[in-house]
Amino acid sequence: MNIGTIPKLQRAWDLRAACNFIGGGTGTGLLVFAAISALAGWPFAAAGLVALAFVGFGLSMVWLEIGKPLRAVNVFFHPQTSWMTREGIVALPLFALAALAVVLALGRPDLGRLAAPVMAVAAAIGLGFLYCQARILRAAKGIRAWSEPAILPLILTSGLAEGAGVYLVLIGLMGAALPWASALALALCAARYAAWRHYRARLGATGAPAGTLAALHHAEPLVAWAGHAAPAVLLVLALAGVLPDLMAVLAGIALAVTGWFIKVTIVLRAAQSNGFAVVHTPVRGRGTSRAGDRPGWQLPHQKG
């Protein structure tokens, strides 16, 4: 019997926190695609606005989750070490510059040529925001599924893939089909799946709570087939010219929704605490000690 020792699902962060990673990832990924559009001379204002809406939605959800919302300004107090503070600081120029680029593009035709470089700078800052989000999870030492270093490439590639997905949907709704966007989305689809597999492999190789590994294992079929194989096939078809508008939109939906599913899985379902461990059992009674134990964990030597 183990009482209180086994890893358990964290309850500190709920769906609202997951929405921050969803909104932030999708929004900044979309911002990158908006910047590429802007630099190439294509319309980008809609993508820019939707990107800001995603990032704003995510941050709003966090604000709703904190216990003292009226003290939210205190989040800026610790840039020395806190990635949450850094995320908040980076959000300010991100919003300002992306909004400025959209205003320039829509409202000031005489200054329209400035919009593209401003949007490019906003997208670069957006990548910084996305990196901060990945580091927020990485710094959470109490949750093995988050502190695994391989979470960094997963969060980064997922954010970009989600943004690619929403971009494909947006341009599809506008009746356009851009081969470069489909090709880039295909590359991001492959990169995210590689990051996902690497993340899972690292957790298995270095040890993690059994519940964490089980939650990720259960997610695998959906992530692999519906989340990556299907959009990859759809994007190849789109690039081959088979109903490119429709194929790209369907692939975009799959790419975005899969990213959100991965984040909900990692932030909520796989987020087991460390539990407790004893390194040596105390010597008493028979006068012997035994090697310690870490209840609820699957360690590398226990595999198979």
Partner: protein
């Protein structure tokens, strides 16, 4: 320099949870909040098993990840190693709770009482609205320590300058003191016994030592 640490003799702990109760009474924590608790661990496979009782809580780490991630600087560390929370600065984001490798942090979003919605007289008297919506954890009874020191008492030796859990421990398993003082009770225990710290791989340098073999005090 001073660094206060807890030293727990696992050979002595019987899992009576008196420390848990003493902590709750002293700090008036709400239902579901246990700054000090004792986990009950079964090690081995039947029939060759051993039962271990392990007091846990905030380990007052030297490199506390909770302090590193805190965006508001509400979590701090004193010169004597005690990790504190400024309830007036905390925004209640719970980042510290997921950063703590020891499940030591709690957040209460609305008041709860032992017998439903109506607080007892004692609960009413000791209810502190500043604790709602913010992170909370074991303080090593820092107010008691500071008060005791101001009276010339020695933490870990004089009960009036010692955490409630240590004072209440019926088996003498829990010990508290300054690890930087070579003549302190905890330094002596650590010199004479074999010990470990939990989750050392996390690099937090916890201030909570568990004795498992060696000279019996």
């Amino acid at each position: 320099m001073t660094r206060y640490v807890m030293v727990v003799d696992l050979r002595r702990c019987i899992g009576c949870q008196t420390c848990t109760a003493a902590c709750k009474v002293t700090n008036a924590t709400m239902p579901g909040v246990q700054w000090r608790r004792v986990v009950d661990m079964e090690v081995g496979t039947f029939p060759n098993v051993q039962r271990v009782f392990m007091p846990v809580g905030c380990q007052h780490c030297s490199d506390p990840p909770c302090m590193e991630v805190c965006p508001s600087t509400a979590t701090g560390k004193r010169a004597d190693g005690i990790v504190t929370i400024d309830y007036d600065l905390c925004i209640g984001c719970s980042y510290c709770a997921v950063a703590c490798p020891y499940e030591a942090r709690y957040k209460v979003d609305k008041p709860t009482f032992a017998y439903g919605d109506t607080p007892t007289e004692a609960e009413k008297h000791r209810y502190d609205p500043a604790m709602i919506g913010v992170a909370q954890k074991c303080t090593f009874c820092v107010d008691t320590i500071d008060d005791g020191i101001s009276k010339g008492l020695k933490p870990g030796v004089d009960p009036d300058a010692t955490p409630a859990c240590v004072n209440s421990c019926i088996s003498g398993a829990m010990n508290f003191g300054d690890i930087e003082d070579p003549n302190s009770n905890v330094s002596k225990l650590l010199r004479e016994n074999q010990h470990f710290r939990m989750h050392e791989d996390q690099g937090t340098n916890p201030g909570f030592y568990y004795l498992w073999d060696g000279a019996r005090p």
